[in-house]
Symmetry: C2
Subunit: 295 residues, 2 copies
């Protein structure tokens, strides 16, 4: 099986490892005491407003602030299908994004309860985390293992902040064997919120999509994926028990520890079609593994 | 140089990979479609109260809830040195911990501003994140690279949930070449808060200590370490720019990408004494690396 290089593939949105302001060169010393220059990622505050209400301050690398704000509000169910967004205004100097809607939203209720989610990649969840999951029906989908391996191979070879500086998470919206939109951020919850914002803004359908993340498959990631209507979530990292439980409840396919030819599927395995010969699948490149221990 | 095995070493508190309720066996399928059993970590809510005030709900694996609550409140500066704690009450059924103080605290002010920190391992920060850092003077310390390598070697070989199930973070309080207290949790902020709670409860001094984390060296981790009065923070993972900046401001030694013989020091390198020969240092065991891509 021929492994795809990222150069074979064109993303709708690809990472921008050379992006101005996303990383910074710093000088330190190495293990022998010799001076060394290295790149480290930025992490800056961005305060999200919904109309006149301050909602949250997120720590982010700073790209796609509008998608981050929209996706955050969507995934927190503060922006419903009924709300019409009239403007999304980013002010770089003030480090704010204001999302304006035609009418006031019902978000005030959600602000009452704050949950500090964990699974290291966390964030604040307002309202009832499980709200909106009860009546959810995720679309049907067939996931060919050939496509899964090809996705993983392309993503691992895509130039990214992950490969160049490490200490960052990526989330990739995929369809079939094609990664479409690849977002990165210091927190994987931000990366997935940016995908949600892009989907909301462009009207992209979650049908036939798979979401790939470099991060762990925690309850928060599973809930976000399900609320976005995407039927499958895959990761090179592992699972939490609650993540598995929620995925099974909502019928989401959960694939973890996807490295080289190996993976585990702990929920929704009926969507899998084993059309690849694992013995022909190469190991992940070292480059993707070396920086892999981010968190 | 002889590498230490964890069996050579006795912790004050060691991880408990067999701990009841910390992980769960689940059944799924592997990449060939064959059924497989695997262990996944738990992730459960714990609501922390300060007297009658609900403060936050944290997602945690569930061990040491009292240390987690105390350490969280200390690191958020909601419990000052002047406050006298009269009781810490954990209710397993209600999933709550109530920390009681002799007099009401000034924490209400802090609840006004919520920041959703990132760097995937995050949490909620109340009040001004930088508060208390301005006047901070961290203690002097010499860090011998021999000790650093030995710490890393012992920690990497210590039986842990990290090695058995992955998808979890560890934080270890160390002195010289001895790891003392090793806490794990789904979020690295919880693991470090549990260390802070243990230090507060036992009155342990931060002098001569090094804090080791499996997670990234973000602003939040640097701030927590500095507020705990510990002069050095080391990790196998990478840095964020803001983490480096704060470490330099407060004079904290920041060591990252510590793997095998290699590391980088991007702040406070004057504390390092290069007494080891890097060519004699073995690579990290595969076991510590395989699950290393947690987040």
């Amino acid at each position: 099986m021929q492994l795809a290089k990222s150069s074979d593939h064109t993303y709708l949105i690809a990472p921008n490892p050379e992006g101005v302001g996303l990383s910074r060169a710093v000088t330190g010393v190495d293990h022998t005491g010799q001076p060394l220059d290295t790149g480290v990622i930025e992490e800056r505050p961005l305060t999200i407003y919904l109309n006149s209400q301050e909602i949250v301050t997120a720590m982010t690398i700073g790209d796609y602030p509008e998608y981050l704000a929209l996706g955050f509000l969507r995934n927190q169910r503060m922006l419903s299908d009924a709300d019409r967004v009239t403007a999304v205004q980013f002010d770089e100097e003030l480090e704010t994004v204001v999302v304006r809607t035609e009418q006031e939203t019902s978000h005030e209720d959600k602000l009452k309860k704050k949950t500090r989610t964990s699974g290291c990649a966390v964030g604040t969840v307002f309202g009832d985390m499980m709200e909106g999951l009860e009546d959810l029906t995720l679309p049907a989908l067939s996931i060919r293992t050939q496509d899964l391996y090809r996705l993983s191979s392309i993503i691992n070879r895509t130039p990214s902040l992950y490969l160049s500086t490490g200490a960052i998470h990526g989330t990739v919206l995929c369809e079939g064997d094609r990664p479409l939109v690849y977002m990165e951020d210091v927190g994987r919850h931000n990366a997935v919120d940016k995908i949600a914002g892009w989907m909301y803004e462009t009207g992209a359908s979650p049908d036939n999509k798979v979401l790939y993340t470099t991060g762990r498959l925690t309850s928060e990631m599973v809930i976000k994926c399900a609320l976005m209507g995407i039927p499958a979530l895959a990761s090179r990292s592992g699972f939490t028990a609650w993540g598995v439980e929620i995925a099974r409840q909502v019928g989401l396919t959960l694939i973890g520890r996807l490295r080289g030819a190996r993976f585990m599927c702990l929920s929704g395995e009926d969507r899998l079609i084993y059309d690849a010969d694992p013995s022909t699948i190469a190991d992940d490149p070292n480059s993707s593994r070396r920086k892999g221990a981010v968190s």
